[in-house]
Amino acid sequence: MPTMRYREALNQALREEMEADERVFIMGEDIGVFQGAFKVTQGLLEEFGDKRVRDTPISENTIVGVGVGSAMAGLRPVVELMTINFSLLALDQIVNHAAAIHYMFGGQARVPLVVRMPQGGGHQLGPTHSHSLEAMFLHVPGLLVAVPSTAADAKGLLKAAIQDDNPVIFIEHEYLYSQRGEVPENGGPMRFGEAAVRREGSDVTVVGISRMAVTAERAAEQLAHEHELEAEVIDPRTLRPLDLDTILDSVKKTNRAVIVEEGWPHGGVGANLAALIQEQAFDYLDAPVARVTGADVPMPYSKPLEQAAFPHEEHVIQACLALFKDL
């Protein structure tokens, strides 16, 4: 199987879907001539021309709104927001329009729109450029939310997102863009709502979201080597729809769960998953569901502070060990 970087996998997905369907076009800030702030759209302008690879002004709310309008009228736009931080400027079009239109007009209109954007901290970009906001989009009925953590998932899920008739919030990660992974040749779209079990284990279930799936997997290796604990690592891959069954099956086996996310703790993905697990697998739990999250602060700039503000392997290891304290 060929290996490639996460960003190359995304690029392939875009290229293949644009080749397959004339209605698919991409637009965003600096995606054409500049080839993308993270080079995801490299080479696409040259290949497809400026009708289908459209550089936009810096107008996030209207970029997304133009995507929604063109999708309602029959096109299949893929919008890139340079980072998830700027999606906050587009929330009206995402929440009041993209998510609601199919429902509020009685099913008459469809919004086959993909909004791609990377999230995450670790690059010393400070409070306005380091958000992890998947919980915010997960909150909204009418949206699908994907959080791929591997190159293969990035490609398969993006292809699926483009082919889907619902608005999809496609959350990439700045750290992951340069990570390599195996990607099946001629791989088709991946199904939303199918979690990946990254590592099997019988002692504790660790659910990692977005980049934290990678962090969780590394932590699990250390837990096995240094603490003789076998963690089962699950990457949900999509948060809406969510493959809750795979998570519950694992919890029923391990009787313990830790959820790892980079975003803030209050109202986070972990809070949501903890509620679902205790609602539906309460009798199987030997310990409270634990959460490992980003610190409850705006992201600081200073390097030591920043590193202290989001989860690392050590945080995951400590959280897992804490579940066994009383044994």
Partner: protein, 424 residues
Amino acid sequence: MAQEAAVSREKSTGNGTADGAGRQHSLPDKDVCVSVLAKMMLIRRFEERAGEMYAKAKIGGFLHLCIGEEATVVGSTQAMRDGDYLLSTYREHGQAIARGTPPSAVMAELFGRVDGCSKGRGGSMHLFDMERRFLGGYGIVGGNLPLSTGVALRCDYEGTDDAVVCMFGDGATNQGTFGESMNMAALWKLPVVFMVINNQFGMGTALERHSAVTDLSKKAEGYGVPGSKCDGMDVLDVHSATTEALRKARDDRQPQLLEAVTYRFRGHSMADPEEYRTKDEVEEWRRRDPIASFSKRLVDEGLLSDDDLEQMDKEALSTVDDAVQFADNSPFPDLDSLYDDLYVLGEQVKSGPWWSVDERSPEPHRGEEEREAGRVPHELAEAGAAYAGVGEAQERKRRQRQAEENSGEGEQAADPRDVEGGGD
């Protein structure tokens, strides 16, 4: 203060006089005149009746009426082709009717019934009719400008000669999406006419108090979108200006901003004590009633008789009667349809194991499959829906009291049908 504002607004309209508009355009053929007048009359009667139904609490939420703005609505839509798209604001009953959506489907939507043009999901602010390319009323001020730009992008992308008309109020010109959309439409040379319906108020804030530039037609020039202005009380002037704007947008690929200067005779919504304007100001504008003035001209020029007008008004009333009856007879949406149309059921989500979990049951809800989801969700839905009648009697009384107060001040006629009538 308000008086001065009224005077300056009067000046700013440029054309149009208090005693009847439209003298600068020659009349089109009789059948066109009749059709245009009939549409305006129908919209007026529809809106009046909607107001009555609101007072009776048959309609919930907000209700924004376009009484006074009929010439703007009908004159502009009359200039559109069938293939053109229209996107409007939350004051859009008239727009839907003008584009051909049956008044019965509009009234049923206001009543929250399943035969409403949005199946009772949207209500007054969110009418929709895909078949007639009326792509919606939108509840967020300025929200439809990016959408319209996107629809225009589709027209351009597919190489069609369809165009888009995007309507919004004077208040929306202050939103960020106004400048963003103007810029993008001009940059990409999209076939869209941005039509600002300047009814002088962003809710209760007068134009002079919300916009530093009060000549709204100039407000997009800096973005590369040329502007023009028409007399929104004169159906022929609106038609002529929209025709020209659409031509430039469609043929020259040059988006346009068209300002229609008009006035809403009623409050912003039904819950509006109208303390921000004087009765004199309203009276001054009412003298330019777009329906009365157009009717008068048709009679003056011998195209119609007073009897004809009366007959046309009767027909409008009868259509509205039918619409109310239709809406009353239409059932409320099935409770089991609560989760319908949340998602399009494609491969990606059909097999997805989980969409939505809420307090109604520990089981997942899957939209269209809710019906098979078992007894518990259904019973909980029924338990919730039972609250629909709670407080209805008090609300009805409150609204009726409000309606009486309003009519005591502004509209003296005992029969509301006599208010703002079609005749002079």
